[in-house]
Symmetry: C2
Subunit: 228 residues, 2 copies
DNA sequence: ATCAAATTAAAACGTAAGTTTCAAACGCTT
DNA sequence: AAGCGTTTGAAACTTACGTTTTAATTTGAT
């Protein structure tokens, strides 16, 4: 298997393809797998569904990724790194800007990357947050280990920042509020709507990311800053 | 197959059992299936896992419920009806009590049934809300149809109530806030914690329902009543 | 042009899934 | 006690899954 670094050094390869802009096999698998994992979940998505829609051979998955488990990990890891990095960059920028460290400003450091991703199809679009959401409830063992080791800094940074922004609250209160706040935000961008179980067409279903943010920010900020 | 009504007329049957308090086959299947569906999801739970743990024969599932799909529907429907009824009863009680129709009071009409269920193992305990949560993201087609027809009144009643409690907001704003509010509440009781993906032990993980409520109510009420 | 490595293709493998079958056991009425 | 509908039990069936194997093909460097 040729590694990514080698591929990037030879971009002419794609020009030889008959079909223009058709990504290589591994990328096509990742793209289709991401969409199907989000739509149907990990277990309900078969390698045959993936390879058919990606127009690649069945064996290509095991050749490029090793196993279905490893494919899922690759799908997830492709997105999580850049996303966390974007959030931390926003945090850095805010802290070094000299602006007041308010709850709203902190919320926006998370929302802006979400919004950016939601609008960029090449970065998985709105699919990524939905993938996170599904991953959360499906609770993959392997993923937990890797994420704990690599991205615990994400929570630590936000915890410190919120403690600085909301000094009037105790650590435990802040933990609860962060728990709720990130929950709402993730579910909002993922389009999870409990009420949609019961009624057919909610206004909320038309999920324009900008509209989500417009209503989401006041709600979350109010929750975070509410008196105990 | 003997129907439930007939069974209830013959309670002596259980007394004949060697093992005391051992529910009948169908109930044992429902109980185990509920737990496994919550823990592993619908697709990842096999009928063989269920029947082994329930100590019943494999064919019993198809005999009593018809199919795995139908079993899931039975598992879900056993809980949703009483839960919605409990919420509506709280709503009725509140509206007829003459108390002020505040956002907090409305929130409590939802939270009290959640809390009640969470503490009653015979009613599925905390499992039910987690089942709702998983069902939401797994998005079963069959279930949607049934729920839309039966329980749209749930959303309608709460929508009317919140419109009365928050007359200063427009209908669309209220729809968004309800969307967020019910999302937080469901996820709180379901124990879904996005941050738990990144760090091993959150305080929130120790999920005492009373603690959840204590922190949840101020957060949700603040979000619902925040100025636009 | 040639050769070795990387990739793709087709087929088969072993396993586990949901479902079905049919006989045995049980429970209730007569 | 007999008979009949209900329930349970053990086994087999069909299908689909993830994976492996082997050969064909393509690719890139010599």
């Amino acid at each position: 298997m040729m590694d990514k670094a080698t591929q990037l050094l030879n971009p002419m390869k794609v020009q030889d393809d008959m079909e223009v802009n058709k990504p290589d096999t591994a990328t096509r698998i990742l793209d289709v797998a991401e969409r199907l994992f989000v739509e149907h979940g990990f277990e309900a998505t078969s390698l045959r569904m993936i390879t058919q829609q990606a127009e690649v051979n069945l064996a290509a998955v095991n050749y490029h990724f090793g196993s279905k488990d490893a494919l899922f990990e690759s799908v997830f890891m492709r997105r999580i790194g850049p996303f966390v990095a974007a959030c931390l960059a926003e945090l850095d920028a805010l802290e070094q800007s000299g602006q007041a460290l308010t709850a709203e400003a902190l919320v926006l450091t998370f929302i802006k990357p979400c919004l950016m991703l939601s609008k960029d199809p090449t970065k998985g679009g709105a699919l990524f947050v939905r993938l996170m959401s599904r991953t959360l409830v499906e609770n993959h063992r392997l993923l937990r280990e890797a994420l704990n080791q690599q991205y615990s800094v994400f929570v630590q940074r936000y915890t410190s920042a919120f403690q600085a922004a909301l000094p009037q609250f105790e650590t435990e209160d802040i933990a609860w509020r962060m728990h709720f706040a990130f929950g709402v935000m993730f579910n909002a961008f993922a389009g999870n709507d409990v009420l949609k179980i019961f009624v057919r067409s909610q206004v909320v279903s038309a999920r324009d990311p900008d509209m989500v943010v417009k209503h989401l920010v006041p709600f979350v900020v109010a929750g975070l800053t509410a008196p105990v």
